[in-house]
Symmetry: C2
Subunit: 310 residues, 2 copies
């Protein structure tokens, strides 16, 4: 049954577990005041679907709690918002089953529900010493897009890809489904690679080493990083990749046993992922994720302040 009653009624498939995740986006914090209603809607649903990807779940339903200030509660705003929401919902075959609309400062909370066969969801706990670490796609896109949005300047000739990565970060649903039974741990990169890989390490009681030169960064992001010196530019790019967040790629680990299967998926183009490091035995929690250069020397990385729009 659809919208109209006090609650929506869902029919879970037999022998499946239900996965549920909620994320809130607040104006001025998670998107700039300049964002279009369509941009806000696509981003809100994409980042929520990303949580399903990280769990290896097939997303099925979502609820929308939309808080709107009076001046935005008009047909034009809602039509643009709905159109964006519909585009992403159709693309990923998820149904809007309910929610709430209230008056107040602009904010969107989406709760997504998905399914996995019992016991097959991917979690953060499961990475073992010697497992290889992978990431999908390219990192630093989120931070680079944020720089474009907040700088009010045309810093590169074509910013379409990066802005689209911010407002429509592609949830890695298909990759998550393919990694069921193959990845030992998985997370989506919302807080930055180091923070999110740190979550895997803590949940799995291990540590990690990441090879800086293996971290995949797109050419248009590298173009945005041009600084006084090549070394400074490279450091800026790496900072964005390690700390920037908002990438919504997956970071996952694979045991030696499952490595050939995952490499086959990559070689045949079924998933787009890059090996960036290895899981270590547990060590000092202040140094859970170590970043090394091409000579295997530790790089001293410091978290830059990423202020978003706050």
């Amino acid at each position: 049954m659809g919208i109209g009653d006090d609650a929506a009624v869902l029919n879970p498939s037999p022998n499946q577990q239900i996965l549920i995740a909620s994320d809130t986006l607040v104006e001025g914090i998670h998107f700039p005041d300049s964002a279009s209603p369509r941009d806000i809607a696509t981003r809100a649903l994409c980042v929520n679907l990303s949580d399903m990807a990280a769990m290896g779940a097939a997303p099925k339903w979502f609820t929308l709690a939309l808080t709107l200030p009076r001046e935005k509660a008009n047909a034009h705003w809602l039509a643009d918002f709905s159109s964006g929401l519909g585009e992403i919902a159709n693309q990923h075959h998820v149904a809007l089953v309910g929610g709430d609309t209230t008056r107040g400062p602009l904010a969107i909370t989406i709760t997504v529900l998905g399914e996995t066969p019992s016991g097959q969801s991917l979690t953060r706990a499961g990475a073992a010493v010697g497992d290889r670490i992978f990431v999908t796609g390219t990192l630093a896109d989120g931070a680079a897009a944020l720089k474009l949005i907040t700088s009010n300047r045309s810093l590169i000739s074509n910013s379409d890809r990066l802005l689209s990565r911010f407002y429509k970060p592609e949830p890695q649903i298909q990759t998550g489904l393919k990694l069921r039974g193959l990845a030992s741990a998985c997370i989506d990169i919302s807080d930055g690679l180091l923070a999110d890989l740190g979550h895997i390490c803590r949940a799995s009681a291990v540590a990690a080493t990441v090879s800086a030169q293996s971290v995949p960064i797109a050419d248009d992001v590298i173009a945005l990083c041009s600084s006084h010196t090549a070394a400074q530019s490279a450091k800026q790019c790496l900072d964005w990749a390690l700390f920037g967040g908002d990438d919504y790629q997956l970071c996952f680990t694979v045991s030696g046993e499952n490595l050939p299967a995952v490499e086959h998926l990559i070689a045949t183009g079924q998933i787009n992922a890059t090996q960036i490091g290895v899981i270590d035995p547990p060590r000092d929690t202040t140094n859970l994720v170590r970043v090394v250069d091409s000579h295997h020397n530790a790089i001293n990385v410091d978290k830059q302040g990423f202020d978003h729009f706050g």
Copy 2:
């Protein structure tokens, strides 16, 4: 699995449907700035559980999306909020399984999930001509509490019951469960009796007649309604009951066949409900719910502006 991964994993019971509902509470709209963190938490969870009661569902899980301004993001505020949330969650055996915390203007979105055996949830569509209309508890408590809160005055000698009805509106979960298979339609009264009974009428393609003198109103509410004349006082009370909302009682309909069973539940104290009217054949949508006096003459009722805290 509990909190800590990108999503929570739930095990639905076999042969059950999942019910889901989301409600947002925004500071200044749904609760006054003066509300304590504990009050905000209890109200937010109670109004969401009320949606489960209206569907005849057993609530099982919930997610919490909490948006907090910087000045409230401290241990004291969160401890008080958590304590209120925990009290209601324990009382109704629902588990907090996930959510999100963000910075921004104070708002709370709760998404509750419950279960019913397949096909047994109560809905708004199902009321038939001749069905009797019932409400649980007393009406107008929400509007009377709002008057107490916004008037800044001690209008009655003991305001504890009414303030508690506002901040801890008791979700009628047990009544909802008992009405499975007995009520032909059900809704919770959040927008006011006339609006919510109107929802049942529209969904069921019927109309309704409510007997004004049957509407149950508590003595402390009547004390609050004292106006220049007895007639004015009575009208004020009735307005609150019909339009005030925020009561979170159930309004439900019962067929002639099931009437003895429901009357037995009432007579034996298993549910606390009052018969207030009858379902009519469909008529003009501007007059879906008719209110009559003791002589069966229609009363002209006008919606007063209930401004909440806006």
